[in-house]
């Protein structure tokens, strides 16, 4: 086989920690090569080495058979290697075009020639069907769009080897479908792709071969067509993983959350939630399905008291909490796994221990009349680490140093261990490996079985289908329909999310293909 | 401990080698610094003069100074000099009153003098000046020289010393022509030239043609403004009266000069006077000596012809009357 990229026996150390231990990865021309591994296995590190951000301690890299020394991203760019980073590398307050031309700006008499650049961007984006607005500011466009900007950046520089580090972690199903389409198109254009993702189905769908790494070590490379998700999972985790989470039937009891004609606006004052009604009962998991930007964020933040309610009423345990302060709401029984773990969920510069007490530090036993008891807090942290298998040096390590996966487990541990009557879980498994996901789903169901109400927000249809007992579909700030998982299909859901009412869907079966 | 030892050897050596006549003096500057073109500098000149007259050399057993970065340095500096065994130590500036008071209390066998301040201790001589008398003459000069009959006074921070300048100046103007209104302004700072400049700009624009400043560094701004106006237009009628030392050099604009004259505060004379007295064993401890026109404590600088003879005569006339006590110049506004 003819390889465009060969990473041979790469070893990368951070201090005396081996993030990559003698890993070999060979990318054939025109293939989509998946890179699979648990959180913290070493995937991003390996790719950062290939992109010239890190220098490996050992091993060599060959491009088209020639040994190269990729000392910095410039070299990578020149070699035609482009990378779409896991944490986007976009300057928020610049426009799409500015972000794309950054570093190789077209000039007219010393002035950046934005017009031409924008035109070129528009062309490329048209060529690959990305349709992004060249003049839009990054901070104003959706994550999916930002993702495409990242892709455009590499294409604009004429990269023919593209690295995607968890591109789908934060995309909606539609966006994922579109992305997959884009990748296939790129291949036909003669480009080669390395794809990192935790979603085995995606790997099965698009990739030609898979390289699996575990705890920094290469486990091996398999041909996709000759394997299956179960095998892949076992390879990467080192044990059997169940996908369809086992759960008994729900037996819903009295209502816990009640939302009535709720209206909420976003930061710009535009109404995002428009007279929404919703109810979640003890002993059930209600999933909220919807396309990003249809008011999910505003809804959650309004319930949690992080955003002003324009009109309408929210009650928890039939206690009116409309416009109450976050703490009052928490105390009336809310547990909240926030959508953005870095913005709301954690104080990254606090230790794991401090973070584990973030919601309860102010009352006994964690503090008595104004004095903290860090001893008890450490105890609590230890138990969460233990029980929720948070991989960390210990409760004194900074939350910042944890992998997203482990950061997430920490948050879930903190919120669930408070045993709240009503638990909001917003995108709880984003960016996590299958092992972690399985674990988290188990916990949510456990809560339900203990007679708590759980409200699950997710862009992953299969997650919503697997975990929830009822699915409320949100579209344009309203619940357009509520369906039972066993009685619906992903297709139907997709249509509802797109704003079609159930009646239409039956006739619209033909559209499935587009949605899928 | 080595520090004290060193001091000790110093002491012994100086007392060994020194014959009876040698009488060492030293001073501590205030935050203004040794060369503030004002009383610190003037005091130092006095001390040097005294030293030279008595064939003393700079250093221990002769004459010396220490500079203060901030108020907190006064006491340590005074102490350092006392430890170096100077017979008489001057503290310059009212800010040093407390410091002198403390040290004088601890070192009763040493002699101290404070300039511009008063400390009630038997071993401290207090030196004050009748700034108002000098300022009065400046006022007379201004009143006689003004063509617009508008005169300005720019003060720094509003403290008693400066108030004496103001009071004397205003009185002097009034003595010549009661109808002239003096535009009195305080910038609230001694070190903000931009404010002095703006203030002066305002005054000149409003028709003022002579400004007397008692504002230290802020006064630089006054000079800048006047000089610019002179530079822009050779026959612009703008003048500045300097303060403390002869500020003629500041006034140079090409071959013109906008310094009308300066009100001198002869701290040097006072310092020498006190040093001599002390040397002769007539140290005025516990007393307050107020130096005025009469004893060359204050004076007007040579105007280098900016002020014509006849006017000078009238000024000298006033000077005489003040010296003879016929005119009593007010101290307060």
């Amino acid at each position: 086989m003819e390889y465009v990229i060969e990473m041979l026996n790469i070893t990368k150390e951070f201090g005396n920690f081996r993030a990559n231990d003698n890993i070999t990865l060979q990318l054939a021309k025109g293939e989509i090569h998946a890179l699979l591994g648990e959180n913290g296995a070493g995937k991003s590190t390996l790719m950062n080495v290939l992109f010239g951000l890190y220098q490996p301690e050992e091993g060599e890299i060959r491009v088209n058979g020639k040994k190269v020394n990729i000392s910095n991203p410039n070299v990578a760019n020149d070699l035609g290697i482009g990378m779409v980073h896991q944490h986007f590398m976009l300057v928020e307050n610049l426009t799409v075009t500015e972000n794309i031309i950054l570093g190789s700006e077209p000039k007219k008499m010393g002035v950046v020639n934005i017009k031409d650049a924008a035109k070129k961007v528009a062309e490329i984006s048209k060529l690959y069907g990305l349709n992004v607005d060249p003049y839009a500011k990054i901070e104003d466009i959706s994550v999916g769009m930002q993702q495409r900007v990242e892709i455009l950046k590499t294409l604009y520089r004429g990269a023919n080897i593209l690295i995607f580090d968890e591109p789908t972690a934060s995309l909606t199903p539609q966006e994922i479908q579109e992305l997959i389409g884009i990748m296939k198109k790129l291949i036909t254009e003669g480009k080669s792709i390395i794809l990192i993702t935790h979603k085995l189905q995606e790997i099965m769908d698009v990739s030609d071969r898979v390289t699996v790494i575990r705890k920094g070590q290469g486990i091996g490379t398999v041909v996709t067509s000759e394997t299956n998700p179960e095998e892949l999972a076992t390879l990467m985790v080192g044990r059997q993983v169940t996908f369809k989470t086992e759960k008994g039937p729900a037996n819903p009891k009295e209502e816990v959350l009640h939302v009535e004609d709720l209206v909420v606006t976003d930061n710009r004052g535009i109404e995002k939630v428009k007279g929404l009604n919703l109810s979640v009962r003890r002993g059930e998991i209600v999933g909220l399905a919807g396309i990003d930007g249809n008011g999910q964020t505003e809804l959650i933040e309004a319930i949690a008291g992080l955003r002003k309610v324009k009109s309408g009423k929210i009650t928890i345990n039939s206690k009116d909490i409309t416009g109450k302060k976050p703490r009052q709401i928490t105390e009336s029984g809310l547990g909240h796994i926030p959508q953005d773990r870095h913005k709301h969920g954690l104080v990254l510069d606090f230790s794991v221990g401090y973070n584990s007490a973030l919601q309860e530090y102010y009352h006994e036993p964690y503090s008595k009349n104004g004095i903290m008891d860090y001893g008890i807090i450490s105890e609590k942290a230890k138990s969460i680490i233990e029980e929720y298998d948070v991989r960390t040096q210990g409760e004194h390590e900074l939350a910042r140093a944890l992998s997203g996966g482990n950061q997430q487990k920490l948050i879930i541990g903190r919120e669930v261990s408070r045993d709240p009557d009503f638990l909001i879980a917003a995108l709880p498994t984003r960016g996590l490996d299958v092992g972690a996901i399985e674990f988290i789903h188990k916990r949510l169901i456990e809560q339900r079985d203990n007679g708590k109400a759980v409200f699950l927000i997710s862009f992953e249809l299969d997650e919503v289908m697997n975990v929830s007992d009822r699915i409320a579909v949100i579209h344009d700030g309203q619940i357009v329909d509520t369906v039972i998982p066993s009685e619906t299909t992903e297709q139907e859901l997709g249509l509802l999310m797109a704003g079609h009412s159930t009646k239409e869907t039956s006739m619209k079966e033909g559209v499935d293909r587009d949605v899928k | 401990a080595c520090g004290t030892d060193k001091d000790k050897d110093k002491d012994s050596s100086s007392s060994k080698g020194g014959n009876e006549s040698d009488f060492s003096v030293a001073m501590v500057t205030d935050v203004g610094g040794i060369d503030d073109k004002s009383f610190n500098q003037s005091a130092w000149e006095g001390i040097k003069k005294f030293g030279e007259d008595n064939k003393l050399s700079e250093g221990d057993g002769g004459y010396a100074y220490l500079q203060s970065k901030g108020e907190a340095d006064y006491i340590p500096n005074l102490n350092a000099l006392v430890r170096r065994d100077f017979n008489l130590v001057f503290g310059v500036g009212f800010m040093m009153e407390d410091a002198i008071g403390t040290i004088a209390g601890q070192q009763e066998d040493k002699l101290f003098a404070i300039i511009d301040g008063e400390v009630d201790q038997p071993n401290v001589a207090n030196i004050l000046f009748k700034e108002q008398e000098g300022a009065f003459l400046a006022g007379v000069a201004a009143a006689l020289m003004t063509e617009s009959d508008k005169i300005g006074f720019v003060g720094g921070v509003d403290i008693p010393v400066i108030e004496r300048f103001e009071a004397g100046f205003v009185a002097g103007v009034a003595a010549v022509n009661p109808d002239i209104k003096v535009d009195v302004k305080y910038t609230g700072a001694f070190d903000k030239a931009e404010l002095g400049k703006a203030e002066a700009g305002r005054m000149y624009s409003s028709g003022v043609d002579i400004i007397f400043h008692a504002a230290g560094g802020t006064g630089n701004g006054v000079f800048s403004e006047a000089k610019e106006r002179k530079q822009a237009d050779k026959n612009a009628n703008v003048w500045v009266i300097g303060v403390d030392s002869d500020q003629y050099d500041e006034g140079q604009v090409g071959d013109d000069n906008i310094t009308l004259t300066s009100m001198l505060k002869r701290v040097d004379n006072a310092v020498q006077d006190i040093s001599k007295l002390a040397q002769e064993g007539k140290f005025p401890g516990g007393e307050t000596k107020v130096y005025g026109l009469h004893d060359d404590g204050v004076a007007l600088a040579d105007s280098r012809g900016a002020i014509p003879e006849d006017v000078m005569k009238q000024i000298d006339e006033y000077a005489k009357q003040i010296a003879d006590g016929e005119i009593e110049v007010p101290e307060f506004r």
């Binding site: 530090y361 | 720094g156 403290i159």
Partner: protein, 348 residues
């Protein structure tokens, strides 16, 4: 080398580097570094008197440093320590002079008053930041000038047109004959204990109390703090107020300890600005501040002896001090150097 050793070595090496460069400067400008540094040493530790004065000088630096550090810990940059210090100084002197009370009441009240004054001066930027998101740096800079002019005006008023307030009652004084005699008539006063007490207070506040937990959280991440039900605005204001209180006490050091009165200020004292360096040299930790203040205070004070004993101009000393700060700040590069050394050693 263990991390601890490195952490110790870095400041030491920085100081040595600073002194070295300073020595070179002296050589080139025709001064004798040896006698210069001997003078510096004697100026700091030479005799009990010097030591006394050095410690005296350190006290206000500790408090100014605490003020800056405390605000920093909750994400605020307080350049207003200078002004807060001045109002604290004035208030201390005023309360100290105006009332006649037994010491056990008078002194504490006076200190409290000074702290409150400083706190008040910190309250303004605090409120503006919390409610209107006005950047605290500008407001505190402006408040410095306001303080300067207001205090001078107040001195004039309370002293009936003079340039100096009355002396404080002995019952409000931090002066101590005991300490003074101990250090042969230095002006050392009990202020140092107040300062050290405040170090403890800050440490306790930040590391032990609920408030400290909240202040730090808000400093790191306002969103998460809000999510965790903390009152972000309250904490921002609180932080500025406490910071101001420390600064006010720094003023009290001058008013009740060093001077016993306040004279019209021609300009800023500089202590407030030095406080920034002190705090950051101490990595914004209470104990670190003691280190920063000691370094700063002793160099600043000992410097006076260089013109005195070796007639080397003060400016050279400021250069040395600045360089030391510079090198301490650049500790990273020194760390790298040390690690290189280590590697070499291990290699052998």
């Amino acid at each position: 080398m263990s991390n601890r050793v490195v952490n110790l070595l870095v400041p030491i090496i920085s100081i040595i580097l600073g002194l070295l460069v300073g020595a070179i400067v002296m050589l080139f400008s025709g001064y004798d570094p040896v006698s210069g540094y001997i003078a510096l040493w004697n100026g700091i530790f030479g005799d009990s008197y010097a030591i006394g004065e050095t410690i005296r000088q350190i006290s206000p630096y500790i408090l100014a440093g605490l003020a800056v550090a405390f605000a920093f810990r909750s994400g605020l940059f307080n350049i207003g320590v200078e002004g807060q210090l001045m109002v604290g100084w004035f208030t201390a002197v005023y309360v100290g002079a105006a009332f006649e009370l037994p010491m056990i009441i008078h002194l504490p009240i006076t200190l409290l008053a000074a702290a409150l004054a400083g706190a008040l001066w910190g309250l303004v930027p605090g409120i503006l930041k919390a409610t209107l998101k006005v950047h605290e740096v500008i407001v505190t800079i402006m408040m410095n000038y306001v303080a300067l002019h207001v205090v001078n005006a107040l001195i004039k008023t309370v002293s009936g047109g003079s340039y100096k307030t009355d002396k404080i009652q002995p019952t409000a004084s931090l002066r101590s004959d005991f300490l003074s005699n101990l250090t042969d008539y230095s002006t050392l006063h009990y202020g140092i204990f107040v300062a050290l007490a405040m170090v403890a207070v800050m440490w306790f506040l930040l590391e032990k109390t609920k408030t400290g937990f909240e202040l730090k959280a808000v400093g790191f991440n306002e969103n998460a703090s809000q999510y965790a039900g903390m009152n972000v605005k309250k904490n921002i204001i609180l932080s500025m107020v406490i910071s101001g209180a420390f600064a006010g006490l720094a003023g009290a050091m001058e008013g009740l300890g060093t001077f016993g009165s306040m004279t019209t200020q021609g300009g800023f004292t500089g202590i407030g600005f030095d406080g920034i360096a002190v705090a950051l040299l101490g990595a914004n930790t209470p104990l670190g501040v003691i280190f920063g203040a000691s370094l700063f205070g002793s160099l600043k004070y000992g410097a006076n002896n260089m013109p005195n004993a070796a007639n080397i101009p003060l400016e050279i000393v400021s250069i040395v001090v600045a360089l030391i700060i510079f090198f301490v700040a650049s500790g990273y590069i020194i760390r790298v150097g040390l690690q290189r050394l280590n590697k070499k050693k291990e290699a052998k």
